[in-house]
């Protein structure tokens, strides 16, 4: 009787190991696939202007909304504005939809979407931070690293 139980136990263990390997393999494959497909690379205005960002692929780009650059269509929700850095790099963003509450001129913003051939970011999401922190960290860091590189 005892012996029989041991056998069941071993069989259970074997089964467990097989299930584990298959499951782990499938999950790992799924995770790798999902990760490669669904990360959004983040670019700074300078990188966008320099053509380092790929076109027709989903990316995120961030900087500051250039003061005075917001233009609205009269008859639709389309809005366009420039996103820039501390230097002269600026790129246009086109967005069709409702902007978040914290979207303002001169404030940090992240736009998600894809670049078309003419260098316009066709955005499907606009993120402005939803708390009192005044700038998304990615944007803050791009600004900071840029200052390091700035020649005196």
């Amino acid at each position: 009787m005892k012996f029989g139980m041991m056998k069941t136990h071993r069989r259970n263990q074997l089964l467990l190991i097989v299930v584990l390997i298959v499951g782990a393999g499938a999950t790992l494959a799924l995770v790798m696939q999902a990760l490669t497909e669904n990360i959004n690379l983040f670019y700074s205005p300078a990188q966008v202007v320099a053509g380092e960002a790929p076109t027709n692929q989903r990316i995120r780009a961030g900087g500051m909304v250039v003061v005075g650059s917001i233009q609205r269509a009269v008859d639709s929700l389309q809005v366009s504005f420039l996103v820039g850095d501390l230097q002269s790099a600026q790129f246009p963003v086109l967005y069709d939809g409702i902007l978040p509450d914290l979207f303002r001129e001169g404030q940090g913003v992240i736009a998600g979407g894809s670049l078309d051939e003419s260098g316009v970011l066709i955005a499907d999401e606009i993120l402005a931070k939803h708390d009192e922190n005044y700038m998304p960290p990615e944007v803050a860091q791009i600004m900071a690293s840029q200052q390091e590189k700035t020649p005196p």
């Binding site: 500051m64 003061v67 005075g68 501390l86 303002r104 001129e105 001169g106 404030q107 940090g108 009192e132 922190n133 005044y134 700038m135 960290p137 803050a140 860091q141 600004m143 900071a144 200052q147 390091e148 700035t150 005196p152």
Partner: protein, 183 residues
């Protein structure tokens, strides 16, 4: 006691996670922002006075005494948070407090000062961000520590609270005053 090494695997996994977190933490510290303006003189400017656009302020008006140059705006919630500390500094400390009203609206800015009090000895209306761009400002609040000769000694990004004041500004100011006194 026999230790089955298999049971130490979770610990290993955890150590890996801690390494990633510590690393990420170092990468993301938002307070470590340098400025290309450090130890340089203030850029030359001539901008209208807030509430009195017929007259202007220039960098020369800031010379003479160690000062704080605070970038503020009414659209900036953190500025409201920072405000009590600026009020305290202007009343209590032996230092000038100057304001750069950044990307703002004159009427709103004056109403804001009326409401919360005015800690600023003078206020520069930088409503299209010229000076801010020269200074490398990218948001508000930011505070520059400027010595008596108009050289930028330190730049703080974010709110100046009691800790920032006590740990960073107060010692630096003491040092600047000591140097000035010694020379």
């Amino acid at each position: 006691m026999i230790v089955d090494k298999r049971f130490l695997v979770p610990l290993l996994g955890f150590m890996l996670l801690v390494a990633v977190l510590a690393l990420g933490f170092k990468l993301r510290d938002p307070h470590l922002l340098p400025s290309q303006m450090l130890n340089r003189s203030l850029p030359a400017f001539s901008l209208p006075r807030l509430g009195d656009p017929s007259k202007t302020w220039s960098e020369k008006d800031l010379y003479g005494k160690v000062s704080l140059l605070n970038v503020w705006a009414t659209w900036c919630p953190s500025c409201v948070q920072e405000h009590p500390q600026l009020m305290r500094i202007s009343r209590e400390e032996d230092i000038s407090v100057f304001g750069i009203n950044y990307n703002d609206d004159t009427a709103k800015a004056l109403a804001w000062l009326q409401r919360y009090g005015n800690p600023f000895q003078l206020n520069i209306a930088d409503h299209d961000g010229q000076l801010a761009i020269d200074l490398g400002v990218y948001g508000a609040p930011e505070t520059f520590l400027v010595d008596a000769k108009g050289v930028i000694r330190y730049r703080h990004v974010g709110v100046v609270d009691e800790h920032v004041w006590a740990d960073i500004f107060a010692p630096m100011i003491a040092e600047l005053n000591r140097q000035a006194g010694g020379s």
